[in-house]
Symmetry: C2
Subunit: 126 residues, 2 copies
Amino acid sequence: MSGFVPGGVFLADCPGRLAVELIADKWTVVVLAGLSEGPVRHGELVELIGGISRKVLTQTLRRLEAHGLVRRHAYAEVPPRVEYELTPLGATLIDPIHTLTEWARAHGDAVLEALDANSEPAAHHS
Amino acid sequence: MSGFVPGGVFLADCPGRLAVELIADKWTVVVLAGLSEGPVRHGELVELIGGISRKVLTQTLRRLEAHGLVRRHAYAEVPPRVEYELTPLGATLIDPIHTLTEWARAHGDAVLEALDANSEPAAHHS
DNA sequence: AGGCTAGGTATCCGATGGGAACCGCCAGGT
DNA sequence: ACCTGGCGGTTCCCATCGGATACCTAGCCT
């Protein structure tokens, strides 16, 4: 009872839960972080986000678009150019995403250490 | 360049990315939210979090435990009692999780509306 | 003795994630 | 005229994961 208002996220079918399931995804968070500073091209995102494939990036962006967080802008040029940007609704996510990625940056090493410590219960000759 | 410090989350194998992949998961966020107010029993979490199965809950908790975010405390009683609580490292996540779930509560309806609007491009008798 | 509770595990199957390869488009080089 | 190259997207295929169901343990209660 220390400040959390649990209304929403815990019920299986409520909108809040839907929203969590939308963004609480391995790639989605990083993609949103990549979009948070302005319009970005598809290829730029692929380069920016290490390890993502074009297909998964497209899927992620499409899902975000369908849910109104991202707008897609395709220019009829050659070679084709496609830019993605956050909608106003999507922009309200910048802060939460920022908080999360900041945490990851700050505590990533600690998580890694804890993982190593747990997986090495062998060598302890004091 | 409007305030984001991209160092970390975008590189494929850096600790920051690891950390994002650890918590940016559909169930993980909700489980952490459930733990954020103090020790909770396994069964309480199952009841609290609508739709989660015991197996997935256990998996999620074990993963968080392995990464040092959660501590497991099993009492040798009958019937068995097992409590989970955030470690100090895990407690540093309360704020980010809180921000995220608050966003979900606040904007869940808007996401739902956008989804409906996009999936109903039919009726426009203008 | 049999059932109850509470947490965990085993097994199975459908859904999904993800990588590699291919497609279409057209400007520009040769 | 043809082939190549850049960009975005899609198709095919497979490994992995999610989730439901059922079973296990171990003591207390009736």
